[in-house]
């Protein structure tokens, strides 16, 4: 069986009509392929995030990772860009929604895509997954990997992050898969329960799994937090979930 992929940086329209950079990885074939938007974590639009995009391409998905830090630091290294965005107070939630919406529009314009678009994010990207799933009606499936601060205290809200994502739950537009570690401090098991209860109360389609002995960042192969059992099972659950909702 022939296998091949193309991975490259591209530009697409993002929030407010801005042109932003993104990393696109796709199988070399005519498709039609389902699509996934990979939201990078807080350390930035880095090698690990692009590797995840290529993993999806290997599995037959068109994957795109928009650079949510592009505006503050066009052309800068991912770590410098992440540092600049952090100092500025983080990625504004409204801008993230606009950029991810731009990624979804771009994916749907591709001749080899099947029109179904999922989203996945890790760490701070998991929080952003929750937000975009509640604010972009066209998304078909969402995967939140240990997103912290979905439940935010009033005094943690800022101009850039003005609403606690948990309060957006009534607007959750698509099925959501949540993957968490029992040893995680953010979100801890209590917070995960609160999110789950809120999804249940609003009759949303959700599937949550919490892995014992796993902490925050258990998918990260280049960090001490990597947990092989949780990561392998988690990837299986992700592909089952997307197989169900993006085919």
């Amino acid at each position: 069986m022939y296998q091949g992929m193309l991975a490259e940086t591209i530009f697409h329209t993002g929030h407010d009509g801005d042109n932003i950079q993104a990393y696109l990885a796709r199988p070399l074939g005519s498709g039609p392929y389902p699509s996934v938007i990979v939201i990078h974590h807080m350390p930035g639009w880095d090698e690990a995030s692009k590797e995840i995009a290529r993993k999806f391409a290997y599995h037959g998905y068109v994957a795109i990772a928009p650079n949510l830090h592009y505006r503050e630091a066009p052309g800068a290294s991912p770590d410098d860009a992440a540092a600049a965005v952090r100092a500025a107070g983080g990625v504004p939630d409204a801008r993230c929604i606009g950029d991810v919406k731009g990624s979804a529009n771009y994916l749907r314009s591709l001749p080899y895509a099947n029109g179904k678009v999922g989203v996945i994010g890790y760490c701070s990207g998991g929080r952003q997954v929750y937000i975009v799933a509640c604010n972009i009606p066209s998304l078909d499936a969402a995967v939140d990997c240990y997103g912290g601060r979905v439940v935010m205290a009033e005094d943690n809200l800022t101009n850039r992050m003005p609403v606690s994502p948990i309060n957006m739950t009534p607007d959750m537009n698509c099925p959501i898969l949540g993957l968490f570690g029992a040893e995680d401090a953010n979100p801890d098991t209590q917070q995960v329960q609160v999110i789950e209860q809120e999804l249940k109360r609003n009759n949303k389609n959700y599937e949550f799994h919490t892995y014992e002995n796993a902490g925050h960042g258990f998918f990260s192969i280049d960090r001490p937090s990597y947990n092989v059992e949780a990561a392998v099972d988690g990837w299986n659950k992700i592909f089952d979930f997307y197989g169900k909702y993006l085919s």
């Binding site: 974590h41 350390p43 503050e72 630091a73 600049a84 100092a87 929080r127 001490p224």
Partner: protein, 174 residues
């Protein structure tokens, strides 16, 4: 920790980073996921000059223990160890470190920091120098990072490290 909680200190000094020496006027300190260091969480210190753009940055990522040790050594140098001795470069205090730094050739693993005092009034007054060294720089390679800041700035950096560590404890990740 996935938060944007950052201690921002105004400082006066200069640093040698990926693009050589430049004036630094801000230190951003936080306890969160590092970019390069093989740690789940690290104290990161970004010595920056925002007006010069995002790439004008000297970055240090340290384990919590290393950061605490660095903080205490800075404090000792600023406030004195009782003797009030001036500590020039050849009598620098060494701190063993676990973490990473971004130097002239990109990211590398840190081995130690050397801390000593300067009293060059013609530049920026009495201050503190911190040289961050990798294993290779200890044996003569130039892959190191240097920061020179005023004593007041060093105090602000030490206070920021302490606050970032406190935040880590509050968030139950330390």
């Amino acid at each position: 920790m996935c938060s944007y909680i950052t201690q921002i200190a105004s400082i006066i000094g200069k640093g040698s980073g990926p693009n050589g020496w430049f004036n630094i006027n801000q230190a951003n300190v936080y306890f969160d996921h590092p970019f390069h260091a093989p740690l789940d969480h690290a104290i990161t210190i970004d010595f920056v000059n925002p007006a010069m753009g995002p790439s004008a940055r000297v970055a240090i990522e340290l384990s919590a223990d290393s950061a605490e040790e660095l903080m205490h050594t800075i404090d000792t140098n600023i406030y004195g160890n009782g003797s009030g001795d001036y500590k020039p470069a050849d009598k620098s205090d060494a701190v063993e470190l676990f973490g990473s730094g971004k130097g002239s050739r990109g990211w590398f693993s840190l081995e130690k920091a050397l801390i000593y005092q300067s009293n060059d009034e013609t530049k920026q007054g009495a201050g503190l120098n911190i040289d961050f060294l990798s294993k290779s720089s200890s044996s003569g390679n130039d892959r190191d990072i240097s920061v020179e800041v005023t004593s007041e700035s060093a105090k602000a950096i030490s206070t920021s490290i302490n606050a970032a560590l406190e935040n880590g404890r509050r968030e139950h990740i330390l």
